[in-house]
């Protein structure tokens, strides 16, 4: 009697939504199982970064370049019927205060350019032209015209609605408790709090909870939450044109430090608010406020854009990025559990990498050869001993 789905996607965040959309538009029958409500996790707490600038040459940059192109296509596809995703191809501007920092930044940009990223070196005067309100005294920077931003909440609900219109079944507040497997070990579906769900493939798109979920699914991955705070101001007239960030953001993204790290990321939104990031902390799912993080973010923003000193802070929120120890997504079929597919571990790049992730998952599910070599993202690449114990701490 139970319906058999082609694919059960666990998690309705941006990655789960993208997987659902990519699978549904290929005609697959899809069920999305979300433990909480819509936008309950990091998707509802992110800035909506679609960045190539923060990635060094390598497999993740390859994903990012493909994904940025896909976002443009998807946003256009969805725009009429599913609302404006507020996709802004406004470019990123990475800045630094010192000559030494600028030299390092330019060297990185040269490497990125060789890998296909468009880069535009900007001198100190150029900074003021691109960002008239930026603080004086900066040494220069690099502009990345391919960097974009969108409204992640709208993007996720639009993708889910579009998937639903193509037959996907989205079940909120339905927690997956175990993987169902047949005698050969192949995946046949999942158990949920509301009963079993039968599916030929199961996709773990549980974001920061992917590590916790991997236990019940029988295939451990060491993905843990990396907390970030964001400040949101009152709406103001346009002041910040690009996504502007300090060069130390690159180092923080790449670091493994568990303590509070912050770098300054400032950008406007179509709603008129200014978003200020970014902090990174490995503190588990700690939901307590951190006044020090708030203070540092405010200080960084005011230093970069002095006019922000008079702009009022309205909100502070936090989210949990899915942190993967080698800073690469966990993406592709799990050799330990035939039928199980992973789609998580994107850390702060989940919004940006969602379309390519969905696209590759759909290719895996349909048995097509994936457009990208998935070996760097192999879910079984981590030592099993690490397990998911950190997530539980």
């Amino acid at each position: 009697m139970a319906r058999v789905f082609d694919v059960a996607i666990v998690g309705a965040g941006i990655v789960g939504a993208a997987c659902a959309y990519a699978c549904a538009r290929r005609g697959l029958s899809v069920v999305v199982l979300e433990r909480a409500g819509l936008l309950a996790g990091a998707t509802g707490s992110g800035e909506g970064n679609l960045l190539v600038s923060d990635k060094l040459p390598g497999p993740e940059l390859e994903l990012a370049l493909l994904s940025n192109a896909l976002w443009r296509r998807w946003a256009a596809e969805l725009a009429g019927r599913y609302g404006d995703l507020e996709l802004e191809p406004k470019g990123g501007l990475v800045v630094t205060a010192t000559a030494a920092g600028l030299a390092r930044l330019r060297a990185t940009a040269d490497d990125q350019a060789a890998a296909g990223v468009r880069v535009e070196p900007v001198d100190a005067d150029g900074l003021r032209e691109h960002e008239p309100a930026i603080a004086p005294g900066l040494a220069g920077g690099v502009r990345y015209p391919q960097d974009m931003q969108l409204m992640p909440a709208r993007a996720a609900v639009a993708l889910l609605a579009a998937a639903r219109d193509r037959g996907a079944d989205v079940r909120l507040r339905t927690e997956v408790t175990a993987l169902r497997r047949d005698a050969t070990g192949a995946v046949t579906g999942v158990e949920t709090g509301a009963g079993p769900v039968t599916a030929r493939r199961v996709v773990n798109a549980a974001g920061a909870w992917a590590g916790e979920l991997a236990g019940p699914l029988g295939a451990a991955v060491p993905v843990t939450p990396r907390r970030g705070f964001i400040l949101v101001t009152e709406p103001i007239p346009p002041l910040v044109r690009h996504k502007v960030y300090s060069a130390d953001y690159l180092e923080n993204v790449a670091s493994d430090d568990a303590g509070l790290q912050n770098s300054t990321v400032v950008e406007g939104t179509p709603a008129g608010t200014i978003l200020i990031g970014a902090t990174r902390e490995l503190v588990g799912f700690d939901r307590r406020p951190n006044p020090e993080a708030v203070r540092r973010l405010a200080r960084g923003a005011v230093r970069l854009f002095p006019a922000l000193a008079r702009v009022r802070l309205l909100r502070v929120y936090h989210g949990f990025r899915p942190f993967s120890p080698d800073h690469l997504p966990v993406l592709g079929p799990d050799p330990r559990a035939p039928g199980l597919v992973h789609a998580h571990g994107h850390e702060g790049a989940g919004i940006g990498l969602a379309p390519v992730t969905g696209h590759l998952v759909a290719q895996v599910v349909t048995g097509e050869a994936p457009d990208v070599d998935l070996r760097p993202f192999d879910p079984s690449r981590f030592a099993v001993a690490e397990g998911s114990s950190r997530a539980a701490a």
């Binding site: 309100a133 009152e234 103001i236 007239p237 002095p306 006019a307 008079r310």
Partner: protein, 98 residues
């Protein structure tokens, strides 16, 4: 809590609202002075350009925003009017001075 500086503030003065003088009784807020002068609209909204004015009167609703001495987004209902103040009807989010 210190009482209002009855000794230093004059009993009455004017402020400039959109270029016109508006009388103030010492102690009044900007909103009080505007309403007493029959000016109900303090701003026009960002998206629909809808007129807005005092609503809650106690600093909660952020509807009576004006540009006060060049600073946008000031709650007229909380801001004591002071001699020489310049108030402008705010359009959208106002301007941020850089």
């Amino acid at each position: 809590m210190p009482p209002p500086d009855a000794g230093t503030a004059p009993a009455g003065f004017t402020i400039t609202v959109d270029g016109e003088p508006v009388p103030v009784r010492a102690g009044q807020t900007v909103a009080g002075a505007l309403l007493a002068a029959g000016r109900r609209t303090t701003r026009f909204t960002r998206f629909g350009e809808r007129p807005r004015g005092v609503f809650c009167g106690i600093g909660v609703c952020f509807d009576c925003l004006v540009t006060h001495n060049g600073v946008p987004g000031v709650r007229a209902c909380l801001e004591p009017a002071a001699p020489g103040d310049t108030v402008r009807t705010q359009h959208g989010a106002g301007e941020v001075r850089t």
